[in-house]
Symmetry: C2
Subunit: 364 residues, 2 copies
């Protein structure tokens, strides 16, 4: 972050016609975005685009989710038809939607509407219909409780796709990126990544996902524990204990790899990236392990009901904007935060100062 | 609230393509607004208008605020020029602004731009410039630590103005109202009202307002305590202990009276009203004491940093949407919540059901 712009933004907040600090967390957001852009005030973070990275997870075979794996593909069809939560919320809150097939198992062909496929994200239009970009590294990850989710090369390929998609959107004029996700069983892989990157016990970071009972929750924690033990043995044998890419390839999912790349790409372009829930949170841990400065570009859109998400945010030092017991994913919580991010910036860009407005300051 | 519409909304939320309850608090908001409107889905809560009720407080003489009383009038000029926080946030979040002079002490004449005064709120236009409506019951309230803030007739006159302004905005086509406030020392009167209506000790509901040190805070708590003792003696002598109007007239402010009326008016028209911080919260306690059903029309826009606000919201059974350590007033926190309210309704209006989207439900 640019220290001059940070200082200028902090100073300007204190000259605006309001008591010092009265806009709370929004003031901090505006100051951070000034530091990211290197200018005060920072540019308007519009237009925005949400990329929903979808993939399937081999660990689904362990019975960690009550939803059949086909739902990942069915939801992609729902995204492309505009009927899912993220579509409704993106329309309401001013974000274009691009769906990225990062590795879905079920064949999508019959489900994709005519004309919805585009070769890359540069053609996504603000206010336009949702589009699908295919960046399939492999059709589903392996079962992390049995073997690594993917090879190191596949993890790097996923990261590269994510970086490229961020660049395409920034090139197309988007000035705020949002990371969303879809993938049945993806909270299990997220819990494994968060436990590994933060050193937290699986019981503290494994949640109820989209809704399971206590017995299923205990089973899910056990599956995460087995995956971590397998990874620990692997790291002991190949000496990759300190390698974030090895951690990602072993415990993550195909969408985690691409989202981590997407965050790296946004940060490289100094464009803010608004994070959604626990899948984004786990992916940000990967990105931050590779390049700690990416956190300067990150805005925590919301705090999900998944316990691992709060652990990840705390580790990253990020304060969530929306806290409404959401646990949907897709980018829904992040998209809801967009008006708050825009408002934070608008305050710094548009509010009058005490001097300019002729308002008397308090006696001190 | 209409039980048929409530039931239909609850049922519809469970058929939408998402896990049950995954949109958390937003689902509850959508269900409540269906109950208010008596239809499922409820109408889009747009356009929105924020009425900023401004008044001065006699208790300012006790040194409860570090800001001079002239700031109330200076901030009205800032509102009318479009440079205050509420203006910036209203532009960003789609709300028209009307400023109501409910009883400001400083003469406004020289401060009001040409053409800004309008005879009533029915001429306020979505996207138009901010306007001033004069509904002065008296120029400032009396010092509540010494005598009643106003007479019973003045309190009723203020309530009536608020009801009328809500009707004018609804008549002009607004489908969501927002209550804002301005008035140096108004957190002191709010603390007194909240203590009286909830039976809470002044130390628990009196906060730092726009920023005071510990000694000033102790002094402010003492002033609220004196006001409550005076009111208790008064109620003992005139037998008005159970009368919300007497409580309002004795401890409140001129803007509290009008905001309470504004809430009553919105509820009567079955139009949602989004509440801001501690001043709205205190006013809602007055309105709810007069007509408990008004709470069905209320959406708690945010939770302010003032401790009395959380006490008021708990007493009213309302869950705040935005919780970002804001303590500005003006309607700022409520205006920030507007996209969340619109999003909650849009989900119920626009999301696909499992059947319609061909998405498989989870096994149970």
């Amino acid at each position: 972050a640019d220290p001059t712009a940070l200082g200028a933004a902090r100073d300007r907040q204190n000259r605006l016609t309001k008591p010092h600090g009265a806009l709370g967390v929004l003031e901090e957001v505006s100051i951070r975005l000034a530091g990211l852009a290197g200018t005060c005030p920072p540019p308007d973070p519009s237009p925005a685009a949400v990329a929903v990275f979808a993939a399937d997870h081999g660990v689904h075979a362990q019975g960690v989710s009550p939803w059949p794996q086909e739902v990942t593909a069915q939801m992609i069809a729902n995204f492309l038809a505009g009927g899912a939560a993220v579509n409704v919320l993106a329309r309401q809150n001013g974000a274009a939607v691009v769906v990225v097939d990062a590795g879905v198992v079920t064949p999508l062909d019959a489900m994709v509407p005519e004309g919805a496929r585009v070769p890359d994200a540069s053609t996504i239009e603000p206010g336009g219909r949702p589009r699908l970009v295919e960046r399939v590294v492999r059709r589903g990850s392996d079962d992390i409780s049995v073997r690594p989710a993917m090879t190191r090369e596949q993890a790097l390929e996923g990261l590269t796709h994510g970086i490229t998609i961020a660049g395409e959107l920034v090139g197309a004029g988007y000035r705020c990126l949002v990371a969303g996700d879809m993938g049945i069983a993806n909270t299990t892989a997220s819990a494994a990544l968060i436990a590994a990157f933060t050193g937290t016990d699986p019981a503290e970071v494994t949640g109820l996902g989209t809704g399971i009972d206590d017995a299923a929750h205990r089973h899910k924690i056990g599956v995460v524990r087995v995956a971590l033990a397998r990874r620990a043995a692997e790291a002991d044998s190949d000496g990759t204990g300190d390698d974030p890419i090895a951690e990602l390839a072993s415990l993550g999912g195909l969408e985690h790899a691409q989202i981590a790349g997407f965050i790296l790409g946004a940060a490289a372009h100094r464009v803010p990236i608004v994070l959604d829930g626990v899948i984004s949170g786990a992916s940000t841990l990967v990105a931050a392990a590779l390049a700690p400065d990416v956190v300067d570009a990150c805005v925590a859109g919301h705090r999900s009901a998944e316990p691992g998400h709060a652990v990840a945010l705390k580790h990253l030092g990020l304060t969530p904007l929306v806290d409404l017991e959401l646990r949907l994913g897709e980018g829904s919580g992040a998209v809801l935060a967009l008006p708050l991010v825009r408002s934070a910036v608008a305050v710094l860009r548009e509010m009058a100062t005490f001097d300019a407005a002729g308002v008397t300051e308090k006696s001190s």
